[in-house]
């Protein structure tokens, strides 16, 4: 990939982001502007901002990469990310806005009048937010590395610095403009190249191979294996090897590998003949966002698919950066309409990644072996169109990818910083909010530089599973059930969210190797969400004396249309 165009494109996106942020800063004057954009953001602008914030690196690069490596099963991710907004709309959107709270901890306190539940919710917000920030920073590093070859911590640092600058300077008002701008940027960056790629595909005779299983090489293709991997062959494979396979050195000789598992060492060059099916590869955990510890093709039973569906459908409502956005709507009705607009916008966007995934299977199938599958979106224009046009389209995609990191990271930083400022730092106020922003970004940045190598799909899946098992019961029961008590809410969040967290953490630590127990732990949502709900309900029923005194009035406020409320109060 030619970096002559890509680097200016990324720089341009960063610059435009700062400029749009500065424009927002000029009209961001009051404290209310700063935190909630004075609650005056209309449905259209707000919907574009929510969508811009929501479509992260996992959406822009990750889905195409996942589909490329693991096939159409992975299309459940974008479907789940979208349907999550339907569930959010059905149960949460308008009442949450009418609750008048700003963050999830605010909601918990307003509904349950309990400082303990508030602090617990705050801890979960910070935890989920950091988990979700980590892959954004890593994705930025990966993109810059693929484009220019710089060390992979640099991209993360650039994103972190820009985000802290914008959020700390302009707050919510400024971020709203930045993210609305970035939604359209991301859509354009994916749509325009997709159009040209489809033309190139048409000119190529519109081959239909991408839908075959497994994908095959269309022409002779040499692959350099960057990290040692295990090749799993279902049928014998003839390949030309320059390097080490199964501990034996070869020097450009053609060998025939029998069915079974073969170890290919780092630096080996494999040359495949046309028509060869692409072999499946197992690799270590540190290989970018498309490789998931939890997802081998055969190890994805029906159970895992349903676990994924439940986690993404119910987890969306608890993501801290999504929730915070609803307070910027002027009223409950606007919050609902905003959500419908968001659904249309992200639905339109998600039509595109499958196109890249399918074309990637056709034109760049070897990316499954090199571990750069996430870069498929970035590499396709060069591969299919080539020349200056290919470079320019690749640069456009690189800019869009960077917009994805920036917008999601700034939304998350905003949400986490809000919680840190209100619940951790001693005094409130804009100055402390800026300190909070710094803290919100510093922790995941340090983690990504020090730890590295948490697969993006896993980190994102973990964030969704934890959110679905802790915040979803809190929000749904808090809004619709009058007998919820503070001990019930706390117990439900701890048991549901805690067990989901423990299960995924155990999977990532490599425990246990396989079988049904592995699936249960890797996709916890299917049991941890009911567990969270059940705990919350049972403990609440066991402590009926602790139902907060003002519950009826608070529920009335959640559900009464504003026109009644304001006139009654006037």
């Amino acid at each position: 990939m030619n970096s002559n165009y890509a680097v200016p494109a990324v720089a341009l996106v960063v610059l435009a982001t700062v400029l749009v942020g500065a424009f927002g800063l000029r009209i961001s004057r009051t404290t209310s502007d700063f935190y909630v954009a004075s609650r005056t953001v209309g449905p259209r602008l707000n919907a574009a901002a929510i969508s811009g914030e929501y479509l992260s690196a996992a959406s822009f690069l990750g889905i195409a990469g996942l589909v490329l490596v693991q096939g159409p099963d992975m299309l459940w991710y974008p479907v789940g990310y979208t349907a999550g907004y339907v569930v959010l709309l059905l149960f949460v959107a308008a009442p949450l806005r009418r609750s008048g709270a700003y963050t999830l901890p605010d909601f918990a306190e307003a509904r349950l009048a309990s400082q303990a539940v508030r602090r617990l919710a705050g801890a979960f917000v910070v935890g989920v937010g950091w988990l979700y920030l980590l892959p954004q920073l890593q994705g930025a590093g990966l993109t810059l590395t693929v484009l220019t070859g710089v060390p992979d911590w640099l991209g993360g640092i650039i994103v972190a610095v820009v985000v802290v600058a914008i959020v700390a300077a302009g707050g919510m008002r400024s971020i709203t403009f930045v993210q609305a701008f970035q939604y359209w940027l991301k859509l354009t960056a994916l749509l325009v190249p997709a159009f040209f790629l489809l033309l190139a595909w048409q000119a190529d005779g519109a081959p239909r191979r991408p839908f075959d299983e497994p994908p095959g090489f269309r022409e002779q293709r040499a692959v350099r294996v960057d990290t040692t991997l295990d090749l799993r062959l279902e049928r014998p494979l003839t390949v030309t090897v320059d390097g080490t396979v199964n501990g034996r050195a070869h020097d450009g000789t053609e060998i025939r590998l029998p069915a079974g598992t073969h170890r290919v060492d780092q630096g080996t060059r494999l040359t495949f003949a046309p028509g060869t099916p692409v072999p499946a590869a197992d690799r270590g955990s540190n290989a970018g966002m498309s490789t998931s510890l939890a997802a081998g093709r055969e190890e994805r039973p029906l159970y895992a698919t349903y676990g994924l569906i439940l986690a993404t459908f119910l987890g969306t409502m608890g993501l801290p950066h999504v929730v915070v956005r609803f307070y910027t709507s002027p009223h409950g009705v606007a919050a609902r309409r905003t959500t419908v607009a968001v659904l249309a916008l992200i639905g339109a966007f998600y039509l595109l990644p499958p196109v890249y995934g399918a074309l990637g299977r056709l034109y760049a199938p070897e990316l499954t072996l090199t571990g750069d599958a996430d870069a498929a979106v970035l590499l396709l224009p060069g591969r299919m169109i080539g020349g200056v046009a290919g470079d320019l389209l690749g640069a456009l995609l690189a800019g869009g990818a960077f917009a994805a990191f920036l917008s999601t990271a700034s939304g998350l930083a905003m949400a986490v910083a809000g919680v840190l400022t209100q619940d951790v730092l001693p005094a409130r106020g804009v100055r402390h909010f800026r300190l909070g922003t710094l803290l919100a970004m510093a922790a995941p940045l340090a983690a990504s530089v020090l730890v590295g190598g948490l697969p993006v799909a896993d980190a994102v899946g973990l964030a969704f599973a934890v959110s679905a098992s802790s915040f979803c019961p809190l929000l749904v029961l808090g809004i619709w059930w009058r007998r919820l008590t503070p001990p019930g809410a706390a117990a439900g969040m701890l048991v549901g969210g805690g067990s989901a967290f423990a299960a995924v953490a155990a999977t990532m630590a490599g425990f246990p190797g396989g079988g049904p127990l592995h699936a249960l732990l890797a996709w916890p949502a299917l049991w941890s969400v009911p567990l969270g709900f059940l705990t919350m309900i049972l403990v609440s029923l066991a402590t009926p004396a602790r139902v907060p005194a003002g519950t009826a009035a608070i529920l009335a406020r959640f559900h009464l249309p504003e026109q009644l409320r304001t006139e009654v109060k006037a």
């Binding site: 096939g71 159409p72 099963d73 299309l75 459940w76 479907v79 979208t82 349907a83 907004y85 339907v86 569930v87 709309l89 059905l90 149960f91 308008a94 839908f211 075959d212 299983e213 029906l302 698919t305 349903y306 569906i309 459908f313 009705v333 609902r336 309409r337 959500t339 419908v340 659904l343 249309a344 639905g347 339109a348 998600y350 039509l351 499958p354 399918a358 619709w480 009826a552 009035a553 529920l555 009335a556 559900h559 009464l560 249309p561 026109q563 009644l564 006139e567 009654v568 109060k569 006037a570």
Partner: protein, 133 residues
């Protein structure tokens, strides 16, 4: 349904003295307060959180919950069987590409649109119930 014929008419009653003189959460025997004309009772009942007011609010919550649960059931029926279909169908790969990749987003938006219309209608009906008699 009759609408109050002049706005001045309305304002006098809503912000009138009876509300201010009553303690906020005191349960009040319905219909016996000579200062509150029966015509405007529901709003006052809600504002003062009487048992009757709670019944009104509860009816709104219940109708909204019914709308949400209906939407949720449609969503479950739409999505729920798909993994089973994919697992059972002989040539599932192509079907999966088509359905998951391109065919689900429009129905989701339509479902959301339907729900918003129904929820707003519930609210309008409730406002009318409370403002008329």
């Amino acid at each position: 349904m009759t609408v109050p014929n002049s706005p001045a008419d309305r304002r006098v009653v809503v912000t009138g003295p009876p509300r201010r003189t009553l303690p906020h959460a005191r349960p009040r025997p319905r219909g016996r307060d000579p200062h509150t004309p029966g015509a405007y009772r529901p709003r006052t009942e809600i504002a003062e959180q009487t048992t009757l007011g709670h019944t009104y609010v509860r009816s709104l919550i219940r109708s909204q919950l019914r709308a949400a649960l209906t939407g949720c059931a449609v969503l479950a029926l739409l999505i729920g069987p798909l993994p089973l279909v994919f697992a059972a169908a002989p040539n599932a790969g192509r079907l999966q590409w088509l359905v998951l990749g391109f065919c689900l987003y429009a129905p989701l938006v339509l479902l959301a649109h339907w729900y918003v219309r129904r929820a707003e209608r519930n609210e309008r009906d409730f406002v009318r119930l409370v403002e008329d008699r």
